[in-house]
Symmetry: C2
Subunit: 357 residues, 2 copies
C-alpha cells in the first residue's frame, strides 16, 4: 500500500482520496495558506466544508507549516492547487520534493507568454523547480469528465491519466482504479491537457442558452427552452478543440471520447462558470456578472482571457488564420472586453457543419 | 417565392413552416391517416395540438385525400413521416411525385436487411419509388441539433442539409435560412444520416444517469448527481459514431460539430427517449418501461433494435470486430433483449480514452 501526499486541499484533490483510500492507500492532505479553515475542519470534525462530506478513513490533514512532515516517505505527490496558484505551488514543491519523486498535477488551464505561446499547466508547475531536481522527477496529470463531489460519493467516473512517462501512468492507474473509478491512459500530454483547459472556456458559453431565455422573460414561454442554441455551441466547441490540437501539437483524435467531448459535456451541465455565463447571457456585462459572484473562483473565465489574448496575438503574428477559433474569440470579447453576447454563427462549423476548412 | 408541400404533419415538419413562411414561401401540410385530428385542428383553429402553437400564416393544411391537390405545382416536397412510416410514405410519394421534383426526407433511423446491411432512411424512401421516376428526382435530408418546437418559436438553430446533389443543397439553404435558422451543407449523405440515426440510440442511454439515482432513492442524497456517468456515455457515443463512419462509408470528421456531437447533445437533454431510458436506468426492464408509456413513439429505442441486431449479425459474418460499438451493443441488450443496465466500462474508449484501437 502506498502513501500519497496532496498539496492543496480543494474539492478535487480531496475527492481523489476516496478511490485511493478504498484501495487501502494513505492520503495526506496539506492545505495552502488559503486552506487553513478547511484543514482545521478536517482535523477537528473530519468534514471538508466545501465538499460537504466527511473525508474517508485513511486521510490525514496537515496545515502548510507541517508540509515537510507530510512529504516524508511518500510514493506519489499530487498538486491540487487551482490554476491561479500553479506557480506558487511549483515554488513550494521545489522545496519539498526530493529526487526520484513523482508528481500528478490537477489544475486545469493554460499559461501564455507575451507572444501568445501557450503552455500546459503541468509544464508551468515544473518550470518553477530547479533544473537539476526537475530532471529527476516525473510529471503526470488527470483529466476527463469528473465532478469532484461525484467521485467522493462513489459515482461511476471515467478519466484519463496522461503524462511524459507512459510506464508511470500504468502504475498510477493501478493505484487509483476501483470498480467505480475507471482509468484510461493516454501519452498525449499536451493534447489531453489542452482539452481540459479549453473545455472550461466553452462551458462558460453553455450558460448563455438559459441566460438568453432569462432575458426574454415571459415572452420565452414555458414550453420551449433553448437547447438548439446550446447544442450548436457544443458542436462548435468540438470543432475548435480539434483546431487546438493542430495549433499546439496534440493528436487530432484526443478530443474524442473522454478528454475533450466527455469533459466538455460534464462541465457544461452546471457549476460556477455556467452560472456566470447565464448572467452574461441574460444581458449583464461580464464585469457586472462577476460582481454578483464575489469571492467565487472562475477558472473558465480566467482561461478564456489567457487563451483568447494568446489567440489574438498569434493571429497578429500570422501563426493562425483569423477564421480559426471564432467561438473562443467571441468568448474573449465577452469575458475579456466586456462586450455583449452576439454569436457569430456564420463563422462557425467551417463549410460543412463539421469544421471542414 | 416557392411552394413547399409536406407529407406528414408531425412536429418537425410543421416547425419547418416557420422559417419557410418567414422567408415568404407557402407551405402545404398534408396529414397522413394518423394525422387526421391534427389537420382538422389546424383547419379549424390554426393550432397544431402536439406543437401547442398556431401554425404560421402561409401554411395550409390538407387531409390525405386532398394530397393530389396539395402536390400540384410545388417547388419542393418534404417527407415528414416518422421512421416507422418511411416505406408507406415512399409508396404514397410514388403516386404523388412527378419527374423533376425534389424531395427532402426528415425521418431519422436506419433500415437493416437480414444480413445486417444498414441503409439510411432517405434511400429506403427512394427505394419504394419505381426506377424510371426515381431517376428523375433528387433526395436530400436535414440533420443537426434541432428540437422542433424551438424552431417553431424562432430560437437560434444550426442545422446541416445533406443529399446526393450538392447544387440542390445550396438552393434549399437559400429557401430555409433565416437570421435564426442557420444552415450548412454537407455532401456526406451517408455520414450525416448515420449520425442522425445513431444519436437517437445514444440519447436513450442519457436517461440512465438520472434513473440510477432514482433507484438509489434517499441514499443518493441531494448534493451530487450523476453527470460523470452521463458524460462518459456521451464520450463513448462520440467514439462509436466515428466507428460508424468507417463501417458505413461516412467521412470520419462528419460526427464533429453539428451532425453527430451537436445533435447527440440536444437529444440527450430530454424528450421521450430519455424519459424511457430513465425508467430503465431506475431498474425496470425495457418492456416494463415501455408499458408505462402507452402510445408514445420511441424512435430511439426502435433504432437501437434495428442497428443493434445488424451489428450482431455483421459481427457473426466477420464484417466488424467484436470490440467495436460496445455501448450500442449494450443498449441493444437492454432494449432488444430486456436485460438490466450494467455498463461494460472496460470495453469503452479504446486503449487511450479517445477510441484508439
Amino acid at each position: 500500500m502506498a502513501t500519497i501526499v496532496v498539496l492543496g486541499s480543494g474539492i478535487m484533490a480531496t475527492a481523489l482520496a476516496t478511490p485511493l483510500t478504498d484501495n487501502g492507500h494513505q492520503v495526506r492532505l496539506v492545505g495552502t495558506h488559503l486552506d487553513r479553515e478547511i484543514i482545521s475542519s478536517i482535523q477537528e470534525t473530519g468534514i471538508h466544508p466545501n465538499l460537504g462530506l466527511k473525508v474517508p478513513d485513511g486521510t490525514t490533514a496537515y496545515q502548510l507549516e507541517d508540509a515537510e512532515t507530510a512529504f516524508e516517505g511518500v510514493d506519489l505527490v499530487m498538486s491540487g492547487v487551482n490554476s491561479f496558484g500553479v506557480e506558487w505551488a511549483g515554488q513550494q514543491l521545489a522545496k519539498l520534493l526530493r529526487p526520484g519523486m513523482h508528481v500528478i498535477a490537477l489544475a486545469k488551464g493554460m499559461h501564455a507568454d507575451d507572444d501568445g505561446n501557450l503552455t500546459i499547466l503541468p509544464r508551468l508547475l515544473a518550470s518553477q523547480i530547479p533544473d537539476d531536481l526537475r530532471s529527476q522527477l516525473t510529471f503526470s496529470a488527470i483529466a476527463g469528465p469528473s465532478i469532484a463531489g461525484e467521485v467522493a460519493v462513489h459515482r461511476h467516473t471515467s478519466v484519463v491519466f496522461t503524462g511524459d512517462t507512459p510506464e508511470q501512468l500504468e502504475r498510477w492507474r493501478e493505484m487509483f482504479a476501483t470498480p467505480y473509478y475507471h482509468v484510461w491512459t493516454n501519452p498525449d500530454f499536451v493534447g489531453v491537457e489542452v482539452c481540459a483547459a479549453t473545455k472550461n472556456c466553452y462551458a462558460f458559453g453553455a450558460g448563455f442558452m438559459q441566460g438568453l431565455l432569462d432575458a426574454m422573460g415571459d415572452e420565452a414561454g414555458d414550453r420551449y427552452v433553448n437547447f438548439n442554441y446550446g447544442a450548436a455551441l457544443f458542436g462548435q466547441a468540438s470543432v475548435e478543440m480539434i483546431q487546438f490540437m493542430e495549433l499546439l501539437g496534440g493528436q487530432p483524435t484526443t478530443p474524442i471520447g473522454l478528454p475533450g467531448i466527455g469533459d466538455c459535456f460534464v462541465t457544461s451541465m452546471g457549476g460556477r462558470n455556467v452560472k456566470c455565463g447565464r448572467l452574461v447571457g441574460s444581458g449583464l456585462t461580464f464585469s457586472e456578472a462577476r460582481a454578483q459572484m464575489p469571492g467565487v473562483t472562475l477558472e473558465g473565465a480566467a482561461a478564456i482571457v489567457v487563451i483568447g489574448k494568446a489567440i489574438n496575438r498569434l493571429t497578429e503574428r500570422g501563426v493562425i488564420p483569423a477564421d480559426r477559433f471564432p467561438l473562443l474569440r467571441h468568448l474573449y470579447e465577452v469575458v475579456g472586453l466586456d462586450q455583449p453576447v452576439n454569436m457569430p454563427w456564420d463563422t462557425f462549423f467551417g463549410s460543412n457543419g463539421s469544421g471542414q476548412a
